[in-house]
């Protein structure tokens, strides 16, 4: 009856296999981890597609408007004029258009004695396009009435690689994906095992406790390669997003990021008994990072005093490091702060979690 200890399956292999099969057979998990990031990428990539330099729309009104526009057109100077759309309007049209944002600037003209018209620029200085419109139009107006430039200038325009919104977005999505799949794939799964009394059932076997936790780590790494690889490949094929830096450095960043979030997930799961409580904690932990860590837009937009705190969040570190590698081509030496932050979170959370972990 006692047979084949030689053919006995290895517990760590079996535990990792079990994690793997459970995940692959869970349709909703596959959706959230693989399909959802792709959907986000496609939707946001299309919505924020680069459409060339921004168009500036200007409305002209008043008795001298037609002559002014004619003189500007006749100039056809090099540079920004191609982006300018100059439209003659009546006062009511013009204020409606300015209010609704269709035009960035109103140019009011009044003829006056002496040849040059009296010009008033009407615009909202807080609007991003308005300042630029005012500068560009004024330049053209001055030239149209005879200003001669003192210095001859030439231009070199070059498109920066990795400068599109989609290039900014993909590392942010990688960060979110790593955070989310660690929390739900590891943290929630452990709490669910505890709730189903599976942890208790394992606790009465001679299973090595560390094998159990290690199997989560190993399966996480395998999933990480699949998830990040899939997203990066998709972005490359569809949006020509390239990794400017070294792929191994990116892999290291993803790995350290996984370690940090796995640790946090394990910490949350170490004593939580119900899946409702687990969901609550995980959402609480993730929400500030969803909002602040710069996955969708640069966190530099937040007030200065917040920046040190934001930079200390693990997701910020992961996003910044991934961006540095993918968009700036940075090596490890440029991302030491980010890697240190991630390593810190990883060490702290694992060491506490392992001490307080409850098996039943």
């Amino acid at each position: 009856m006692n047979k084949d200890s030689a053919r006995r399956p290895h517990p760590l292999v079996e535990l990792t296999k079990a994690r793997f099969l459970e995940f692959l057979r869970d349709h909703s998990a596959i959706f959230w981890v693989f399909v959802f990031p792709i959907l986000l990428t496609v939707v946001l990539g299309i919505a924020f597609k680069n459409q060339g330099p921004e168009k500036i729309e200007v409305g002209f009104l008043g008795p001298a408007a037609e002559e002014l526009v004619g003189r500007i057109d006749a100039q056809k100077p090099a540079g920004k004029q191609g982006q300018l759309k100059l439209t003659l309007m009546n006062p009511r049209q013009a204020s409606a258009a300015l209010k609704s944002g269709k035009i960035d600037l109103i140019v009011r003209t009044e003829p006056q004695a002496g040849g040059t018209p009296m010009i008033t620029y009407q615009y909202d200085p807080a609007r991003p396009g308005a300042q630029m419109a005012r500068l560009a139009v004024d330049n053209l107006v001055q030239r149209a009435y005879g200003r001669i430039d003192a210095v001859h200038v030439s231009e070199e325009q070059a498109e920066e690689k990795g400068g599109r919104y989609i290039d900014f977005l993909i590392p942010g999505l990688i960060g979110l994906n790593v955070m989310g799949s660690c929390m739900w794939g590891l943290g929630y799964a452990i709490v669910d095992s505890r709730r189903r009394k599976l942890l208790k059932r394992f606790a009465v076997t001679p299973m090595n406790r560390s094998h159990f936790l290690l199997s989560f780590a190993l399966s996480r790494i395998i999933f990480l390669v699949m998830e990040v690889g899939f997203l990066v490949l998709f972005a490359f094929l569809v949006f020509s997003v390239r990794i400017q830096g070294d792929i191994f450095t990116l892999a290291l960043v993803a790995l350290v990021g996984t370690a940090a979030f796995s640790g946090l997930a394990l910490l949350i799961a170490s004593r939580t008994a119900s899946t409702e409580a687990a969901s609550g904690w995980m959402n609480l932990v993730q929400l500030p990072m969803w909002l602040l860590s710069g996955s969708f837009f640069a966190y530099s937009r937040f007030p200065e005093f917040l920046h040190p705190w934001i930079r200390f969040l693990p997701l910020t570190a992961l996003n910044d490091a991934a961006r540095a590698v993918m968009n700036d081509g940075s090596g490890i030496s440029a991302i030491t702060w980010e890697l240190a932050v991630l390593a810190f979170w990883s060490l702290i959370s694992f060491s506490i979690a392992l001490k307080i972990f409850k098996w039943h």
Partner: protein, 326 residues
Amino acid sequence: MSMDEYQLNCNSQPSADVTPVIRCRDLVVAYGSLVAVNGLSLKIRRGECFGLLGPNGAGKTTAVEVFEGLLRPRSGSVEILGETWGRSEAGDRRLRQRLGVALQETHFPENLTVFEIIRLFRSFYRGGREINDLISLLGLEEKRNARVGKLSGGQRQRLALSCALVGNPEIIFLDEPTTGLDPQARLVIWQAVEALVRDGRTVVLTTHYMEEAARLCRRVGIIDSGRLIALDSPAGLVRTLGAGEIVELKMEGEFPLESVRRVPGVHRAEKRDRQWILMVNDSAQTLPGILNTLSVQGMRVDSVSTHQATLEDVFVQLTGKGLGDE
């Protein structure tokens, strides 16, 4: 089944080695101020099937979890196979190699198959059974590659039992193994347990079903409110009633207690709820006498029923409540 048949079943087990494989003394287990086990002492012998019988909340599961090493008692001592829990992590793991457990409720991962789950548990044990042998033993061949989510209650219990057996354990703990199962499923589990005992393994069973305890166990410990209130073979426990059969009478009016007690063959008569319970040796012989006595006194009987005395009757006699009560 008659009392003699109960006795026959118990004696058909191979004679047990007297070395206790489980020994506990004055075990007290408490959760805060709630005392779940209040001074339990018993010895379970190698090769016997031992039952802990009692209603829900009696403390049976708590006691067994102490034996399994899941709980630490507040006071008292426990020895399993001569070892004590908690001396060292390595020692605990060595002991767990020799035990098999089926918990009261385990929900295995729904997406894994029967084979995958048994293989997972097999990997934890140094020595154990062939997975396919175990699947045949418990009649799960057809469900070998079925996912847990598709199994019936009875099949899940058989899977739990397979996982308890996969390491070839010396002692097997079964906590409420047939609760919630239909009669056919219960029978399959019972037959599996009987095979284990024939094999010479020690089985410790908790249950609130008296027929399960009576059928499977060589000795039964009756537990109520954390205390052991009786311990003997099923037949021995029933004998304490003093009679082999129970007659239940439902009727209105003034019951002639003294006259009925004097009918030959009647050992005891008492009122319980709205029924009169009489303990008799042989209902076929004694019943005419009882009914005659009642009709002579002008009493009309609403209903009569008789049954063989069971462990439930023993429990009721000892505690005044049924095994199905909390």
